[in-house]
């Protein structure tokens, strides 16, 4: 249901559209923070992991940028890169699903909404999945479900710890029940990874909602989140309609979830790699010096 909010907000150009604005000079070197209005030098912003140094606002980054922040340079090896979506229902709303797919593929250069693979984090092996919100709102269809499941199975086989960076509006309705069932499929694979006593950490980024929240986002041994990320099961609007009362200001933020016991730790993006590395080492995952 929370996809509703996403689509509604996208139409209004809010929520998802909160990205650095060009300043009047328009030379592309400077941008304006959508949160505090501070004019920032783009190079500085990128050097700070796309976090505003004035107010701490975390700007959206795509899957490639995320991988660069986490993985040691050149260490990421993608899996199942050519797995592509089909249109199993022949779905057509105002537009055909096949057309929406082609458009997303053209805009992102991705086949579907997740990149998976193995990498090193300061020479420690890690299975890494990164959802990309640009691809149809990070919605989970068969390809996302299959790639994540294969990644988890691979991690279990290699006895590797696992990190999945979540960013999703929920299930991909255009694939109907096949998309809902990916929740169970992934959860089943996580059960086996857990049974093998391997560490799984989801990182919840803005936004993580719907079917992803009701499956792998909440199944971490440890659950990490980015500051102020929207995290929830149902959409705010749906809840407001049923309740007819005002919701708390910080409702469904990472901070709110931490207060209620559902997030272990909130990690500002510039500290992500360091925190990950500490957690991996504290759980006995050590740098693999022989191979690299």
């Amino acid at each position: 249901m929370s996809l509703f909010d996403w689509f509604a907000d996208r139409r209004k150009g809010q929520f998802v559209g909160k990205v650095i604005q060009e300043t009047d000079e328009g030379d592309g070197l400077w941008g304006k923070c959508p949160e505090c209005g501070q004019v920032v030098y783009r190079k500085d912003l990128i050097a700070n992991a796309n976090v505003c140094s004035n107010c701490g606002h975390h700007n959206r980054i795509d899957s490639e940028e995320r991988i660069n922040l986490i993985a040691d340079e050149g260490s990421f090896h993608a899996l199942d890169q050519d797995l592509s979506p089909t249109d199993p229902l022949g779905f057509k709303d105002r537009r055909a699903y096949a057309d929406r797919l082609r458009e997303s593929q053209a805009n992102t250069g991705m086949k579907d909404g997740v990149i998976t693979g193995f990498c090193k984090v300061e020479s420690i092996s890690l299975a890494l999945g990164v959802m990309d919100f640009r691809f149809m709102g990070g919605s989970m269809g068969s390809v996302v479900g299959e790639k994540i499941t294969r990644l988890i199975e691979g991690a279990t086989a290699k006895k590797a710890p696992l990190l999945i960076v979540c960013a999703s509006g929920g299930a991909r309705m255009q694939e109907g029940m096949l998309s809902l069932m990916q929740m169970a499929k992934i959860s089943g694979a996580l059960e086996r990874h857990r049974e093998a006593e391997l560490l799984y950490m989801p990182l919840l980024t803005h936004p993580t909602t719907g079917g992803v929240t009701a499956s792998f986002a909440m199944l971490g041994d440890l659950i990490l989140a980015e500051p102020k990320a929207l995290i929830g099961f149902a959409g705010r609007r749906v809840i407001e309609q049923t309740l007819r009362e005002k919701l708390p200001d910080n409702f469904q933020t990472a901070e709110y979830l931490q207060e209620h016991g559902f997030v272990d730790t909130i990690v500002p993006r510039p500290q992500l790699k360091k925190t990950l590395c500490s957690l991996l080492k504290l759980h006995g995952y050590l740098p693999d010096k022989q191979k690299d």
């Binding site: 709303d93 109907g176 990916q182 499929k185 089943g188 809840i239 309740l243």
Partner: protein
């Protein structure tokens, strides 16, 4: 027998039923033999009902699935079990009335039965929260399933919900987490699990008790990734397009059998389960016992591997390494 609650597309039957009723009354007051006319009209009515129900659109099936007189979880439990003890509470502070469970006996077998429970009228529905369970409901379900696991009781799950409850408290208490944990833990169960969509299978709220070795569905039940109303307002930007969304989403038993989501579609009496609840009960009981007979013969290893494989194979992707479209596993 006049019915109190008719669906829009059943209206053509009203006229016929009225005539039948009139002739019956006539027969009571006179000596005239009307059995011939009565038989003719009743046969006609039965045939019309059959025709109407065979041609239901997905949107009409949703109406049947949501029919207030459609047999519910507790109706089926009462039909199946002489011995039935309802068990309450999630042991963390609540007892959700929208998701009920307990132990009973079907034939010679002790089993755990659980499912979402809707009400028949407004008052009951308020008490049952329209069959929309809270996180406490899903945690109660898991507590009961783990109990069944310890005492080797097969699990019978009845799915009938518009969805998991969406509310402030549900978010605070971790609706997502509660469902997620059920999805994972149901893969661990060492006892057979048979789930049946008896009415509405609403999204994650349905799946939260739906990770089963066998998934059955009644003919006019529906199972949806999102309600067609929500889907229509998101993708069509118009809630009035819900019937189109219902058709596009492929939510009926036969569709889901084709997609490999459902294992068996159970036939309903003409007019739907609400027309002949006892008949519906017989059909479901036979199917449940048949599947349990097969599943109880399996080893724990076979059972768990089979359950994993069943869900592992759901989805359609194009994999150039195998260069074919189809099942993903």
């Amino acid at each position: 027998m006049a019915r109190r609650y008719l669906l829009e597309f059943e209206k053509p039957l009203v006229e016929l039923e009225k005539q039948i009723e009139q002739i019956r009354e006539l027969a009571r007051d006179s000596e005239v033999d009307v059995s011939q006319q009565l038989l003719q009209l009743e046969t006609l009515a039965a045939r019309r009902r059959e025709e109407i129900f065979q041609g239901l659109t997905p949107a009409q099936k949703i109406q049947v699935a949501r029919h207030p007189h459609r047999p519910s979880t507790l109706d089926f439990i009462q039909m199946f079990c002489d011995d039935w003890v309802e068990l309450h509470g999630d042991r963390t502070g609540s007892d959700d009335q929208a998701l009920i469970g307990g132990i009973g006996r079907i034939g010679e077998r002790s089993v755990l039965l659980l499912g979402q429970q809707k009400g028949r009228d407004t008052k009951e529905n308020v008490a049952r929260n329209f069959g929309m369970a809270t996180p406490g409901g899903y945690r109660k379900a898991l507590r009961l399933m783990e109990h069944a696991d310890r005492f080797k009781l097969p699990i019978i799950s009845f799915i009938d919900t518009p969805g998991a409850y969406a509310g402030l408290l549900a978010e605070e208490q971790g609706q997502g987490e509660a469902i997620a944990v059920n999805l994972r833990e149901m893969f661990r169960l060492r006892v057979p699990v048979v789930a049946t969509v008896i009415g509405e299978g609403g999204s994650g709220g349905a799946l939260g008790i739906g990770v089963a070795d066998r998934l059955l569905m009644f003919e006019h039940s529906v199972y949806t990734v999102a309600s067609p109303e929500a889907c229509a307002s998101i993708l069509w930007r118009d809630a009035a397009k819900a019937p189109e969304a219902a058709a596009a989403l492929k939510i009926t038993g036969p569709d889901l059998l084709n997609l490999g989501v459902v294992d068996e579609v159970l036939k309903e009496p003409a007019g739907g389960n609400n027309w002949a609840p006892l008949k519906a009960g017989e059909v479901l009981k036979e199917a449940l016992e048949r599947h349990l007979d097969e599943l109880t013969k399996m080893s724990i290893q076979q059972l768990r591997e089979g359950r994993y494989r069943k869900f592992r194979s759901i989805g359609r992707v194009l994999d150039p390494t195998t260069s074919e479209t189809g099942l993903s596993a």
